[in-house]
């Protein structure tokens, strides 16, 4: 094996407003090795790979390919330098067939007329190198995820990629498919291709990786040979910090009868049910990796998706929920994960956004009483300290933290009995986070039952009275606050212990 690195990134730094995404990180990949890049959400993995892909420029640092300093400013540059990235969301054209996708933009042609035979030969030779057997004429949309991924890999290889980054490649695959993926990766490795393997699944990393690099809070923790670590070491390095002190004191639930009970609830396209209970004043945290089913569960619980079976009970009464409006009138609020796509109408004002779920309340003689709206929204806005020049400001023009507070205000206008939060603090600054934590604690103290899903472990641990760990759509373990540590939650979430 050639020991000189194919790629060397040195001292890479990147700052976003309010966040130090990367701080002097160095990372290298040799030809013919699989290098695993691990870290919690927000550790800086994606930013580092975005810089490598030419999607965003670094503030400081240098990149070398084969010892030559290079400047990667666009994805084209990256392609020219033999770097290919396979994102979780594939870059394939669903309506074109496998062969057309593999050579997209580089079709062999004579005077613009595609040379179909040369095209097929080229595609077949790439597939042969990978030892893959894909139906050349099948449209991408008809293929399973695993085959789409194989197409992506073939596409990368057909542009002569010498370095392939795979971002969570196993997230949507079955165990069998993951084994097949590893066969392909080993093949690439023996061909001298360097692989960056990003994954949350610690067990996989030890199966496939030659070296491991751990990032935490935008800094390099360490890089070393995979054989020199045990799974627990890596988890400790990833977590590595004490719980932040900015979490408020949580109320102790006094009642023992559950306010909210979910029984054998079946998320669409799952053939098993999920059961959990939440008492008044309790914050039930849902932890789990990306793709573990937290969001799907919350969506089914709150009527955003219609569940395939099971029941939801509120104060002992079984609810009939066929859609969001049933959930809302029953007293269930759902603060969604993506405020721009699901939470807000960006082209509407703060006032109009906040009153949207409860507009009927403000109607007098067919007309919406704007003055009454303004009074009610102003009160909430003061309580939540929403920083906006006026309530007539468009939601689009607010900062992330203030947008999130507008979404919260929507669901606080009427007193909810149960509030489900999905990633309540994603992408907002520390100050706004602390305010939202306090608000959640205050709501719980007022007797609301709270379900909170988050991919930030410290948040789940700091803000939950009980924690459900999810994996593959199931709650595999429930911890009381006192027994939950980052290490044992991650163990259940990654499946390094049998559930």
């Amino acid at each position: 094996m050639d020991a000189a690195p194919y790629l060397a990134m040195r001292g890479i730094s990147k700052t976003y407003p309010g966040v130090h995404a990367l701080d002097g990180v160095s990372f290298d990949v040799r030809a013919g090795e699989v290098h695993a890049l691990v870290g919690e959400n927000g550790a800086g993995k994606s930013t580092l790979m975005k810089i490598l892909a030419g999607a965003t420029p670094p503030d400081a640092g240098t990149i070398e390919i084969r010892g030559q300093a290079v400047n990667i400013r666009t994805p084209r540059d990256a392609e020219r330098l033999g770097v290919a990235i396979i994102y979780q969301e594939f870059n394939l054209v669903p309506g074109l067939d496998v062969a057309a996708n593999i050579v997209l933009g580089r079709e062999p042609n004579r005077a613009g007329v595609i040379d179909a035979r040369a095209l097929d030969e080229q595609v077949l030779s790439v597939l042969k190198r990978l030892g893959l057997d894909l139906p050349l004429r099948a449209e991408i949309r008809t293929l399973a995820v695993a085959q789409q991924q194989q197409t992506e890999i073939a596409k990368a290889l057909s542009v002569n990629a010498r370095l392939i980054v795979m971002d969570e490649p196993s997230a949507a695959l079955t165990p069998d498919e993951v084994d097949k993926l590893f066969v392909v990766i080993r093949k690439l490795r023996s061909d001298g291709v360097g692989i960056v393997y990003i994954s949350h699944r610690i067990d996989e990393i030890f199966t496939i990786a030659d070296r491991i690099t751990v990032l935490r809070d935008g800094k390099l923790v360490e890089t070393g040979a995979a054989s020199s670590y045990k799974a627990d070491d890596v988890i400790r390095l990833m977590v590595g910090r004490p719980l932040s002190a900015h979490f408020p004191t949580l109320p102790a639930p006094t009642q023992t009868t559950p306010r909210f009970a979910v029984r054998e609830l079946r998320v669409p396209r799952r053939d098993f049910g999920v059961t959990f209970e939440v008492r008044p004043g309790e914050i039930f945290g849902l932890a789990g990796l990306v793709g573990s089913g937290r969001t799907s569960l919350l969506r089914a619980v709150c009527g955003a998706d219609v569940p395939a079976g099971g029941t939801v009970e509120l104060d002992g009464v079984t609810l009939r929920i066929r859609g969001p409006s049933d959930a809302i009138s029953a007293g269930l609020a759902f603060v969604t994960e993506d405020r721009k796509a699901q939470g807000l109408v960006l082209g509407m004002s703060v006032r109009e956004n906040v009153t949207l779920p409860h507009l009927a309340r403000f109607v007098r003689l067919l007309m919406v009483d704007r003055r009454e709206e303004t009074t009610a929204v102003q009160k909430l806005s003061d309580e939540l300290r929403i920083r906006t020049p006026s309530l007539e400001q468009l939601a689009r023009n607010l900062s992330g933290g203030n947008q999130q507070k507008v979404v919260l205000a929507k669901w606080l206008l009427e007193t909810a009995k149960v509030i489900c939060f999905d990633e309540p603090t994603r992408g907002i600054d520390v100050g706004a986070k602390a305010e939202i934590y306090e608000l959640i604690a205050r709501l719980a103290a007022g007797g609301v039952a709270i379900v909170m899903a988050s991919s930030e472990l410290p948040e789940v641990l700091g803000m939950s009275t009980r924690i459900g760990v999810m994996r593959g759509g199931r709650i595999v373990k429930v911890f009381d606050r006192a027994e939950a540590t980052q290490e044992n939650v991650i163990r259940y979430a990654t499946g390094t212990v049998a559930a």
Binding site: S325, F334, G343, V345, M348, L359, V368, S390, K410
Partner: protein, 333 residues
């Protein structure tokens, strides 16, 4: 004055618009040797745009939800011949009138519901469902009428399209009265503006066009609101047909051809986004007015009728382009 910066900006924009409009009107008036602003001409322009403006109000509702209604031109023909047909041989004029209005507006509304149902139920693109309706309604109009115009001899019906009201008011400015279709148009514009800006339904129309998923998760009955906008658009096509058929005293199966595009033009010239979520009835009315004024001016200035279409197309393009540039300018500040 004690104004917020936003209010001052709005005032500044509105002021600039009005000053510009007055200067333009004075210049145009001089150019046409004073013909343009004569009461007779003004009343004529308003009469000509009445049918388009009524269609465009319905179209505005649909377009704000990010939809489109291509069927309204053909619905004018279909509801026109239906109304004319039900009045044939009806001895009592008042009964004939009421039945005709009920049939015209009702059939338009039903056609609107047929447009909307596949959109909300099967998520078909409104472009397709209303294109299909455009073809079907036109064919049905020919089938029902046997391809021939149906004469209307109901005086009350014809008065709605061609008559005048308030002769006293008219005499003040040297006219026989205010044209009835102009009054109908103004009533529709005012009602449309009220519904869109003041009611819950109107708020939901904007919310759905702005972010359908957020609207759904806020508990809004998205399917119901969408059905509502297509029914409104269809029913207003029936009303517009009443104005047109009344003016011509005939239900004509060929009528209304191309009106769907005229109404869409008025909506986009009026600043409503085809992407949904943004727009206003007032803007649409100004858009219809602008197109009407332009047609009128070209007639007064004896522009050849083929060239008129070229100019109209170019003006629509320029108007929307200017609006886009204006928005970018204000967005960048």
């Amino acid at each position: 004055m004690n104004l917020t910066p936003a209010a001052r900006q709005t005032l500044l924009r509105a002021g600039g618009f009005i000053v510009g409009l007055v200067v333009l009107l004075v210049v145009l008036n001089a150019w046409t040797h004073g013909d343009f602003l004569r009461p007779f001409n003004v009343s004529n322009v308003l009469k000509q745009i009445a049918v388009y403006a009524v269609l465009a109000v319905g179209q505005t509702f649909v377009i704000i939800t990010a939809g489109i209604d291509l069927s309204v031109g053909s619905l004018i023909a279909l509801t026109g011949v239906l109304m004319a047909g039900v009045m044939v041989g009806e001895p009592i004029a008042a009964v004939g009138l009421l039945v005709a209005i009920g049939v015209g507006v009702g059939a338009g509304g039903v056609a609107g519901a047929v447009n909307g149902l596949p959109v909300v139920r099967f998520n078909l693109p409104p472009f397709i469902t209303t294109l299909a309706m455009m073809l079907m309604a036109r064919g049905l109009a020919f089938m029902y009428s046997g391809g021939r115009p149906i004469e209307i001899d109901n005086a009350a019906f014809n008065a709605i399209g061609g008559g005048t009201l308030f002769p006293g008011l008219g005499h003040l400015i040297g006219l026989p009265g205010i044209p009835a279709p102009v009054l109908v148009m103004l009533a529709v514009v005012i009602a449309g503006h009220f519904v869109l800006t003041r009611t819950r339904f109107g708020r939901y129309v904007y919310a759905i066009g702005g972010n359908e998923e957020a609207a759904r998760l806020s508990g809004i009955n998205v399917a119901g609101v969408k059905m509502g906008v297509y029914i409104i658009s269809g029913a207003l096509a029936g009303l517009a047909s009443l104005l047109l058929a009344g003016r011509l005293s005939t239900g004509i199966p060929q009528s209304g051809s191309g009106y769907e595009l005229q109404s869409i033009a008025a909506v986009v010239v009026g600043g409503t986004s085809l992407m949904g979520g943004r727009g206003s009835i007032v803007g649409t009315f100004v858009g219809a007015l602008l197109i009407g004024v332009l047609n009128n001016l070209m007639n007064l200035l004896n522009v050849q009728s083929y060239a008129q279409e070229v100019v109209l197309g170019a003006v629509i393009l320029i108007a929307v382009l200017l609006d886009e540039l204006r928005k970018r300018y204000f967005a960048s500040r």
